[in-house]
Assembly symmetry: C2
Homo-oligomer: 461 residues x 2
């Protein structure tokens, strides 16, 4: 009997040699299989996560849409960054023929998250990214939804087999020890992770400590600051209160993009209005670890000097003054809690924003006049996505999405949502003076794949 | 008096807001200044490195050409990866307007190498990459050429000031302790390094151990395997012997792309012919550390069971049988030494290649018939650049160059030579539903910069 590592290693050469249309068909087969099983999957997921059938059904759609988007993107082919410089005998020194593209790294490890049991789990964005470019995937299941993980994995394995993918293209492992072993295994060439700062940092450290360090793409913690300007507060206070209440309690506050810190002008009616919009009830948190983490985090925050509790029912709203804002208040509390921070002047506001760690998102609610360039600058410096007049909890899966940001939002310069997520599992390679037949099709002179390429410095689509 | 870190931090907002044409003019100003000082610089460099005026003059040209290529590349603008997805109210769920681009990380640390006192030193490719995209640079000088480093830095600072770049865009630090402090300083957002596995690994570990880990782009060690097939040996043996002798002794063997391991068919006349082509004399090695490292490495290799010494004058040629090849023989010896490995069958050859660590390059000398796909595959798996019928020591600076490879060739998925080297110092950012005026020019609807962009999924040039 072979191990998942041996199987993944054995699958890699076949996947490396596979065509984009092969891999697109694998991804579409997975998407079709999951869509066909949506009733069963949603029922399983609801039992294990309490996230509710409406949200979960939507998440399945997002997950299968993601698989299909990646299928289209690999067929389009510009992700390969194919680049050709013909030989130039007249250059000093004379230049050889050089052709560059990206190629898959090898087998990758994916650590599933608990809060999106489809979109960031077994068949989520990381798995889709890796399969799309030809990397075998070994998923470490999140213990929060073991039955769903196993059933999803069964469906993925069956879909891949039916679509002609090699055995070993995908596998699931479970348990803490399997997770620790995974990132350290010599066959694994990269790892991706969505979860807590503590867990992510531990795995990051293991990846970096290997004899051969591997890239670790972690999405860890994010407080997602929101700024409400005086104009916005005056003009749209009621709408903003409803929007904030809905956003920070969505999924019981268990979104990595949950707005956890909201700067409001002193005297804003938002404080009162947000409380009025709170839901009377929320579903239970995903699991005991999250529930106890939330209880500890909330208790710690609410006990800090200068923090007032505005609401503490199903959801918690606290408030403080910008002058009292301490580093202890700037750490993510994962769950249905947000902290309002009252400010008087833009100077105070900019100063406080400048002290924040990195976040996945930063949101600006400004008035109708132009937003202050200073505010936009500091929000862009501190985050990976700057939103105007919206709420950060929705993350569209598109070509231009970016889900990442300065540490501790992510460990890296890459995204885990959107088409460019595939870049994580690729590395460049160049071929010098290669006979045409020895080149991968993407780099052959006649461009048999018909993909966008840069030729002699000029981008051609 | 401010520190280099404070200056770099202060310069960053100005550099972030600078236009591509501003930065292109800075790079061209540095190039022009260095070209104008070429006589002085070459004389200084020759005194400190013994690399000889011809090679050094060529290297200045390569370095200034590199600065000018990066200037053109940032003007062209596709390095920004500007991507626009317009809002789609009909999508489920409705999609906001999302626009993505790359932006500079912040101040970066550059660790200069000794073996290319221009192209991989103070004003080399790493500095050019960082300035090109708007990152302030702090260079840690290599102790092998302190006078040249200081003089080059003076010229760079003056050129930048004349061209209107902010104070703090560039600085030089010296000494071991300064180097250790640099990668750990909170202001530094990324580091790049070219040098030994030992030094690079130590800095990599420091970068990874920070409270906020930063990307570390290291180019460390590389044995650069070469394969000579039976056909090639029979048809071009004399030419190959001359080429190999020239390549592994170029710059006294002090190239990170030096061919250190050459697989030859048993009975090849190459063994004898390479020895006949060796230079009678080579310049002294760059510095005491390299000289003693070379002496130790060579002595260790030549004492291993199964290693025969074919020549041990100015340059060293050793040989062994593929059956005797041990891991000890697969480590880079930096300097004028190469190890020939005799093989009988392609099976033996593939097996030995499969055991190699990653290299920057891998070279195939095959006959006129098609090269074996198996051979090309394993060479591509083990390296970042596969050469056909050439020698790896030349590294053209072009759009399609890649200078990197699996560990320990480099730590990362990025290159340190060629236009895509700028990607190391950038991170993605997305803007959601931003008013046009709040967007960076690269993402405004009218495309005022006229750069290539992907709009609603379609790449437009």
């Amino acid at each position: 009997m072979t191990t998942v590592f041996e199987d993944a290693a054995a699958a890699f050469p076949t996947m490396l040699a596979s065509s984009a249309s092969d891999r697109a068909s694998w991804l579409r087969a997975i998407a079709d299989t999951l869509d066909a099983a949506v009733d069963e999957l949603v029922a399983l997921a609801d039992e294990e996560t309490h996230l509710g059938p409406v949200r979960l059904r939507g998440e399945v759609g997002r997950t299968t849409g993601q698989l299909r988007l990646f299928a289209s993107a690999v067929e389009e082919g510009s992700y390969l960054e194919a680049t050709i410089d013909h030989a130039d005998a007249a250059a000093a020194p004379p230049r050889p023929d050089l052709r560059r593209m990206l190629r898959p790294l090898g087998p990758v490890a994916v650590y599933a998250a608990s809060n999106f049991p489809f979109a960031f789990s077994v068949a989520g964005g990381d798995t889709a990214s890796a399969l799309a470019v030809g990397c075998p995937v070994i998923v470490k299941a999140h213990p929060g939804h073991p039955l769903l993980s196993r059933r999803t994995a069964q469906l993925v394995v069956a879909a891949l087999a039916n679509a002609g993918a090699p055995v070993g293209a995908f596998a699931l492992v479970e348990g803490y020890e399997a997770g620790v072993a995974l990132v350290q295994h010599p066959v694994i060439t990269a790892a991706s992770f969505t979860g807590s700062v503590r867990g992510g940092r531990a795995l990051f450290d293991l990846a970096a400590a290997r004899p051969d360090p591997i890239p670790f793409f972690g999405e860890l913690g994010s407080i997602n600051p929101v700024v409400v300007t005086k104009d916005a507060d005056a003009n749209r206070g009621a709408e903003l209160a409803a929007g904030l209440a809905a956003s920070f309690t969505l999924g019981a506050g268990q979104f990595c993009t949950k707005p956890g810190l909201v700067f409001v002008p002193r005297g804003s009616t938002l404080e009162q209005r947000v409380v009025e919009h709170l839901p009377a009830e929320l579903p239970p948190l995903l699991n005991d670890a999250i529930a106890s983490g939330f209880a500890t985090g909330a208790e710690h925050l609410l006990a800090l000097d200068g923090v007032e509790v505005l609401a503490s029912g199903a959801a918690t709203v606290a408030a403080t003054d910008v002058a009292a804002l301490s580093d202890d208040m700037l750490t993510e509390v994962f769950g249905p809690l947000t902290l309002l921070v009252r400010y008087d002047s833009q100077e105070e506001l900019l100063d406080a924003l400048g002290r924040l760690e990195g976040s996945l998102t930063a949101t600006l609610h400004a008035g109708d006049s132009e937003p202050s360039a200073d505010l936009v600058d500091v929000l862009a410096q501190k985050s990976g996505r700057v939103l105007f007049s919206g709420w950060p909890t929705g993350v569209a899966v598109t070509w231009s999405q970016h889900h990442g940001g300065p540490w501790p939002a992510t460990t890296s310069q890459h995204t885990s949502v959107g088409v460019t997520a595939v870049r994580r599992f690729l590395r460049p390679i160049a071929f010098q003076d290669a006979p045409d037949a020895a080149l991968p099709p993407a780099l052959r002179e006649a461009n048999p794949l018909g993909i966008p390429r840069r030729v002699d410095g000029v981008l051609r689509v």
